[in-house]
């Protein structure tokens, strides 16, 4: 790798949240507030077919009957859903060619390190960029099309591949699933769609980059990914937002469908604005991610969560098919006053299903970091296996680390292993490093990276470097 530790150091100098800038792009924002008319307005702005409007309205009707359940180990003030705007889109019409993209938008993408040009071809990543509520540009569509791979914004998919969207939307995360999933189903604005045809191994990483820009808007995107029989795809998702004093809501839904013999590798580097060091501002990140595995298929979730003021998310696998495999690898870092409640659910329905959970929580400052996981073995799931390892690393005396593992077994052939550790970076470890000439910041880095190695190794190379940088930034000044 050309990237050296010193490049890293240079880049990190004086860095707090480098994505905290705001772009000066004219947007069309609909007025704040939420009611049936707003849902209709969103749908009509996107020229949606009737069936999708019906989907939204049904979800909205259900949402109105729901109350937000507060079971997660996080606290935040009541959210005023009437004080949020549910749709914001960059004003310029949707670009056709790269040359026509608003220069300010290009500058934004540059700052975020996203490039749509051919250079990116070398690194083999196709990118979809979602700015506020709208997908701006997807690269390499043509190349992917040759293989029959569909990778586009959600809206385009609705237009061009309605049969696929209609068939799978809401099948893994029904609109009634939970409060925020229902809200998302009613008001989602855009997101990413991906379909890998039978037997195709997608040759490049598919990547979606989410960006919230506009103030007082919520971001509700929807990702639907279908891997048809015997196919393979690796999908990456990154997120950033400007630094603002007000909290902003992000409530996404991700649905993965892994058909017989398919494999989906889904990686997330979540770096929404975490708020400042006193806990002011930051994103509320309430996300529902779930995948279904058919026979002999596999879904692997890898996440590095460093951002957001409050996070709750549990990327889960429904292991419906026999011999299917679910994996969850997670690093969640909280610093200052951040709160995270994250983990996974592995639902074993099929025979010989296997799941692995590796969760690494790192808490610093006054933050709270919880692992919450459910392993459920159903009656017919003979020979199901689960291995769970969940470790907590504490960096201060004021932070909290909690684990809430739930295990439900209804089949006696199940084998379940659970390991958990809690550790603290010790003064004497740091001194030992100092004595060898290693500064305290660097020492923390070494130790944290070592601690997260098993998870970081699961990320595609490029993302691993980015994730390491993020860990470093997130924990800057956390000890001492």
């Amino acid at each position: 790798m050309a990237y050296s530790e010193d490049d890293l150091k240079k880049e990190l100098k004086d860095q707090e949240y480098k994505y905290g800038f705001t772009s000066n792009i004219e947007s069309e924002v609909i007025p704040k507030g939420l009611n049936e008319d707003v849902v209709r307005l969103i749908s009509s702005k996107k020229n949606e077919p009737q069936w999708l409007l019906d989907f939204r309205l049904k979800a909205f009707a259900h949402w109105k009957t729901m109350v937000e359940k507060r079971w997660a180990h996080v606290s935040y003030p009541e959210i005023d859903f009437q004080n949020i705007s549910y749709y914001s889109s960059p004003k310029a019409k949707k670009e056709v060619s790269w040359d026509e993209v608003d220069p300010e938008m290009k500058a934004t993408m540059d700052k975020l390190g996203i490039s749509m040009d051919e250079q990116k071809a070398l690194s083999g990543v196709a990118v979809d960029f979602v700015f506020d509520s709208v997908s701006v540009k997807t690269s390499f569509q043509d190349k992917l099309q040759e293989l029959g791979v569909i990778f586009c914004s959600f809206s385009e998919a609705v237009k061009n591949h309605p049969e696929l969207v209609k068939k799978y939307l809401g099948t893994v995360v029904p609109p009634t699933d939970n409060f925020y999933a229902a809200l998302n189903s009613a008001v989602f604005s855009d997101g990413s769609f991906c379909y890998i045809p039978k037997g195709v191994r997608c040759p490049m990483e598919l990547s979606t980059y989410f960006r919230i820009n506009e103030a007082n808007t919520g971001q509700f995107e929807r990702t639907l990914l279908i891997a048809d029989e015997g196919s393979y795809v690796s999908y990456l998702e990154g997120c950033t937002a400007p630094s603002r004093d007000e909290n902003q809501l992000h409530a996404a839904v991700v649905e993965l469908i892994s058909l017989d013999g398919a494999e989906i590798k889904y990686s997330t580097v979540q770096n929404w604005y975490p708020g400042d060091k006193d806990g002011k501002g930051g994103i509320y990140n309430f996300v529902t991610k779930r995948g279904i595995c058919h026979n002999h298929s596999k879904i692997s979730w890898t996440q590095v969560e460093t951002g957001s003021a409050v996070t709750w998310k549990y990327p889960s696998c429904i292991l419906k098919g026999d011999n299917s495999i679910g994996e969850f690898y997670s690093v969640a870092v909280t610093n200052h006053y951040q709160q995270a409640d994250t983990g996974t659910k592995m639902i074993h329905l099929g025979k010989n299903t296997k799941s692995t959970i590796i969760s690494k929580g790192i808490s610093a400052g006054f933050s709270n970091n919880s692992y919450r996981g459910l392993v459920q073995i159903h009656k017919n799931a003979t020979n199901a296996r689960n291995f769970t390892q969940c470790d907590s690393l504490l960096m201060s005396d004021q932070c909290g680390a909690h684990t809430f593992p739930y295990i439900e077994v209804k089949n006696s052939t199940a084998k379940i292993e659970h390991e958990a550790t809690t550790s603290k970076i010790g003064e004497d470890q740091l001194f030992y490093c100092n004595q060898r000439g290693i500064s305290t910041e660097k020492a923390i880095n070494l130790i944290v990276n070592g601690y997260c190695k098993d998870v970081l190794n699961k990320l595609p190379m490029e993302f691993a470097v980015e994730a390491q940088k993020l860990l470093e930034i997130s924990l800057e000044g956390s000890v001492g």
Binding site: N434, T440, I447, G450
Partner: protein
């Protein structure tokens, strides 16, 4: 190399070092002996910059610089090395990665280029052979699950990799079997040069058969109460510390 003058240090308000005077010149080997709890490890911790200890009086000059003014990592980068009496485990961080980071931090401090992968691997090979450290240990996490003796050997391996000006070995011999003792001593001797110096802290004259000291000092109740040639070590072995206690003016 190092000039320690009237060094006093406290921990939690309790005085442990009560006026240490010691000068070590380049090319010399000094041995410090003394009963348990007399302050030997405290002296090495204070020199290495452990913050818990408060220096209340005195000065330390290291290679012309005010040592006490430097942060612990800068002391190390200036060439001070401490082989710990109880080496610390760092899970998840490989020995190799740890050392590479350490070497590059030092090089950056000295405005030198980072070590190349090739050069580094060459060094690892050479130096691990010197202390006959199992290659497998080099790839394992720092000291994690190492036996007591392996940890000590690893300290000397690190020392060999970092080529310090002044190395302080705090009871590196304790816990080593006879063969390991010879190997470690051998390593120390091979690294000896007219430009560096070593302070060995030990309870056993045995080590000094291998590493021949130019001077032997006895630390007792926070002070150096007697200094002499290597014969002093033999005398101590024979008579124990009571003899010194009785002689001591305290």
């Amino acid at each position: 190399m190092i000039k320690i003058k009237n060094l006093h240090a406290n921990i939690d308000g309790k005085e442990i070092l009560k006026g240490i005077n010691l000068e070590v010149k380049a090319g010399e080997v000094h041995a410090i002996m003394g009963p348990n709890g007399s302050g030997k490890s405290t002296l090495s911790s204070v020199l290495a910059g452990r913050e818990e200890f408060e220096v209340t009086e005195g000065s330390v000059e290291f290679d012309g610089k005010d040592l006490l003014d430097l942060a612990p990592e800068d002391r190390a980068r200036e060439g001070l090395f401490l082989a710990f009496q109880y080496p610390i485990e760092i899970p998840g961080v490989s020995n190799i990665n740890f050392l590479k980071t350490a070497i590059n931090e030092k090089r950056a401090y000295l405005n030198q280029e980072p070590v190349s992968a090739k050069e580094f691997l060459g060094m690892v090979k050479e130096k691990s052979a010197l202390v006959e450290l199992d290659a497998k240990l080099a790839n394992r996490s720092v000291n994690e699950g190492f036996s007591g003796g392996e940890k000590k050997r690893n300290e000397i391996f690190q020392m060999a990799m970092l080529t310090p000006k002044l190395a302080i070995l705090d009871e590196t011999d304790s816990g080593l079997d006879i063969d390991a003792l010879r190997i470690v001593a051998n390593g120390v001797n091979k690294l000896k040069s007219p430009n560096n110096a070593t302070i060995v802290i030990t309870h056993y004259q045995r080590l000094l058969d291998y590493i021949i000291p130019d001077f032997v000092h006895v630390l007792y109740d926070g002070k150096i109460v007697k200094s002499g040639s290597k014969d002093l070590a033999l005398e101590l072995e024979e008579k124990g510390y009571d003899w010194i206690k009785n002689e001591s003016p305290l």
